[in-house]
Symmetry: C2
Subunit: 120 residues, 2 copies
DNA sequence: ATAAATATGCGAATGAGTTGCATATGCAGT
DNA sequence: ACTGCATATGCAACTCATTCGCATATTTAT
């Protein structure tokens, strides 16, 4: 547990917005001004492997991260603002498992993103 | 309509396996041996913009393509083999739209991939 | 406190995809 | 078919996110 890692973890805890590696680097600098980009990348990879963090690709070139804790959820991206909204739907979860089963598979993972614009 | 583009289109028609740009380049060489990578990339971008092709990211670094025609479908990736299976589920479609609506959005696009291993 | 193990910073390397530019090609209009 | 011009191509150089090598610094086990 190093200064750099503590800085990254704090930056992550303070972030509610699915930050990317660059944002995390900036935010972590507040707690460890000398932290390097490479360290952020290395640490995020580690955290992801440990299952403490989830990595997402919302299609903007950079990977985005969030703490892996809360109940399973999916994301809706507001195409007008880029805002990311989390949602959870039990029917949807069940349906995903059911579809995989129907195709002869055990569902191990999945990725669902909805892209939408605000109504009217 | 150039030789290079015809080659790429033929390569694409002959491909049932969601090829990436490298695979398409190789396959297009059969019809135009001097075709360049850059041309494949440029053409795929064009085809995607024209809506003739869909670009997917199945999480292996390279974008994968398929002709945009058939009815809307999602993908299940067999984690054991890398094979990509297409499926369509009406309930799922309806549910996605319904969830977006519930959150106050009109669904414009979505991305769903299931990752699974063969049962038992 | 010391040594062995691990993490860091830096800059260089990677790899997918893009781009600048000079040349080649497709496509009118004749 | 022929000329002109717009567009596409090949090539090599470039971008940008991410990774890596390595010498040094920090942790952790002893």
């Amino acid at each position: 547990m190093t200064t750099a890692r503590r800085a990254i973890l704090k930056a992550l805890e303070n972030s509610e917005d699915h930050p990317d590696a660059l944002m995390l680097h900036d935010r972590a600098k507040e707690f460890d001004p000398t932290i390097a980009q490479a360290t952020v990348y290395r640490t995020m990879r580690l955290l992801e492997q440990e299952g403490l963090v989830e990595k997402h690709d919302f299609g903007n070139g950079r990977a985005r991260y969030e703490e892996a804790e809360k109940e399973q959820h999916d994301h809706l991206i507001n195409l007008s603002t880029g805002e990311i909204i989390e949602f959870h739907d039990t029917d949807l979860e069940a349906l995903k498992i059911e579809i995989a089963k129907r195709l002869g598979f055990d569902l191990k993972d999945h990725r669902l993103e909805l892209y939408g614009v605000p109504k009217e």
